[in-house]
């Protein structure tokens, strides 16, 4: 006899079925495959050879430059607070309901809807050494030309500029929406208490946006640690100082055809992201409990 609980469970599973099927087929299956693959040597021509931990050992050998690539992955985490700051500022300004906000709103959000190729073309021009917009502006201040996308020392900064440009536009959509949800009477009370604009911003707006900071922070960080398309397209596959772990995975896998090694690298990157996210989550929760 089917009890109510079992029936509930069955319905629950039925609701989850499409999702779980997709998860197994297109994520879990491949990820298990890649986990197994990371213990093999496979160059796409000869059949895979079981090599146990050789890929992992090779990863931590000095010639692999693993720590350098990982460091570059972490560098892009710095873009997250910057883009969140700009996004918050934009959302705050839009929320002031000045005349013409609608026009600004549409303009500010354009970066979000652009696809990879137009973005790479536009930013390739802005950051160009010889004729670029940015070097032109810097030139009027007497700053010498910088090879933003060619000098290994500067590529990280160049790519970050673009990432902040696009990321902050997305962030401002979310922040703007979140600001709409803050009840106006809170501000009115604060104004009656004599709080100025800056004080209201720091004591009401910023703390009340807690869940939004969290959401943008965690998705932004995961995205930054996995940054790929902007780097690859803007540097034409020569990322120099922006050579992060994901670029290395792609190059080892699809250009040098060391599939097993690429799989091992992906697993290490995955574990890194997973650990960091969990720590961030835990840390935030304990803060919330203490408060």
């Amino acid at each position: 006899m089917i009890t109510r609980t079992t029936r509930h469970a069955l319905i629950g599973y039925a609701f989850l079925l499409p999702n779980v099927l997709g998860l197994i087929l297109f994520t879990l299956g491949p990820i298990v495959f890649s986990f197994v693959l990371s213990f093999f040597d496979w160059n796409l021509f000869a059949g895979p050879v079981f090599v146990d931990m050789a890929n992992y050992r090779a990863m931590f050998a000095p010639v692999s430059r693993f720590w350098y690539y990982l460091g570059n992955s972490f560098f892009f985490l710095l873009t997250v607070p910057v883009q969140m700051g700009i996004a918050l500022l934009v959302a705050y300004l839009l929320d002031k309901n000045l005349r013409g906000t609608l026009v600004f709103k549409v303009l500010f959000f354009i970066p979000v809807v652009l696809s990879v190729i137009p973005i790479a073309m536009i930013w390739g021009y802005i950051l160009d050494t010889q004729n670029g917009l940015l070097n032109g502006i810097l030139g009027t201040f007497g700053i010498a030309r910088i090879a933003w996308l060619f000098d290994p020392a500067w590529i990280r900064i160049g790519v970050s500029l673009m990432a902040v440009w696009q990321g902050s536009a997305f962030g401002s959509i979310i922040y703007y929406a979140a600001l709409q949800g803050i009840p106006a009477h809170l501000y009115e009370v604060a104004t009656l208490d004599g709080a100025g604009e800056a004080r209201r911003f720091w004591s009401i707006t910023v703390p009340l946006l807690g869940p939004t900071h969290f959401f943008l922070g965690i998705t932004g960080a995961i995205g930054a640690l996995q940054m790929f398309a902007p780097i690859y397209t803007m540097t034409h596959g020569m990322p120099g100082g922006a050579h992060n772990l994901l670029i290395e995975i792609y190059m080892k896998g699809y250009q040098e055809f060391h599939m097993g090694y690429a799989a091992a690298l992906s697993w290490v990157l995955f574990l890194t992201i997973f650990l960091l996210s969990t720590m961030y989550w835990k840390n935030l929760r304990s803060h919330a409990e203490n408060a």
Partner: protein
């Protein structure tokens, strides 16, 4: 609340600076898309065209530009010895090359790519709305063993680096003859941990009382989903649909791997094939880019109201 005039001006100033940061790159792309070949990288903000001949005493003489000197040009005139300096305005005039757009439209089968993209994006959007809302409902409202474990697993998939999944999925699709089909592009896109997460957050904000009331009337779990949850989630679904649509419209990597038939390419992939080393006309290329992003921009403009409302209601608000 009253604002002082200087403060308002300050706000406007900030807005203008920030809009410069967002809009100038886009404006540059727009201007470039109507620039003439040979005049794209002349360092000016307007699309200039340069005549090939010059009016000398009522006679049109072939003019060759040797050098640009600020506001003037050094030229040689056909059949006349020596070089002369003429003002730029004598040869150059501002005229947008609208034909870049018609040329791009003629050369690249945008109409076909547009339909392909629309088909793929609509299927993915529709599919994700179904799978994510089902999943979100199960995670937020139903009780069954293993629920939280599956949900954590789901969140963890967000952190998996994409490239490593391509080879196994590619082999899977090949096994089922799905390479070079639209299904091969659509299927992997139908499931999204992100969307499920978003909708679960939203469903949790719907008051339970409503369901309790309906349950007393004898409604089961399934009819609660259709009668209470879905009708109340319009804005959240619209927000998700907008993000998914724009995302899949712009997706490049996966379609470029699966689709090989030139008649089946989606817009971004078709555009990338247009952009290779045989292609010299930067203006025309940019015009192609502008055509390709137009649908996503329009979609955003129409739905941005819903996006705002949807996000407000998904519990990300303050």
């Amino acid at each position: 609340m009253k604002r002082t005039i200087p403060f308002t001006l300050f706000l406007y100033g900030l807005l203008l600076v920030l809009s410069g940061w967002y809009v100038v790159p886009f404006c540059w792309a727009l201007v470039t898309s109507v620039k003439h070949p040979g005049m794209v990288f002349d360092g000016r903000w307007l699309p200039y065209t340069r005549a090939k001949s010059l009016d000398v005493g009522g006679r049109m003489v072939e003019a060759q530009v040797l050098q640009e000197l600020g506001d003037s040009l050094v030229v040689t005139l056909g059949g006349m010895p020596g070089q002369r300096v003429v003002p730029r305005a004598a040869l150059e005039s501002v005229s947008p090359a609208w034909h870049n757009y018609t040329d791009a439209w003629r050369i690249v089968p945008f109409g076909k790519y547009f339909l392909n993209s629309a088909l793929v994006s609509l299927c993915i959007t529709l599919g994700q709305l179904i799978t994510c809302s089902l999943g979100g409902y199960a995670f937020s409202r139903l009780q069954f063993p293993g629920r939280d474990a599956v949900f954590l697993l789901y969140l963890a998939t967000l952190m998996i680096p994409g490239p490593i999944l391509t080879v196994p999925i590619y082999m899977l699709l090949r096994q089922y003859h799905l390479l070079n089909t639209y299904q091969g592009v659509i299927l992997p896109g139908l499931f999204s941990a992100y969307g499920t997460f978003l909708l679960k957050q939203f469903f949790q904000t719907i008051p339970k009382d409503l369901e309790d009331a309906a349950r007393i009337d004898g409604a089961g779990v399934v009819s609660l989903y259709f009668r209470i949850i879905l009708p109340l989630s319009g804005p959240a679904l619209a927000a998700l649909a907008t993000f998914v649509f724009i995302g899949s419209w712009n997706d490049f990597f996966w379609p470029s791997i699966v689709l090989t038939d030139p008649g089946m390419l989606t817009l971004p992939v078709g555009l990338a094939h247009f952009n290779d080393i045989y292609m010299f006309e930067y203006g025309r290329l940019m015009a192609g880019c502008m055509i390709s992003i137009a649908p996503a921009v329009l979609m955003y403009m129409v739905f941005q109201r819903f996006v705002t409302r949807g996000v407000v209601m998904t519990g990300l608000k303050g």
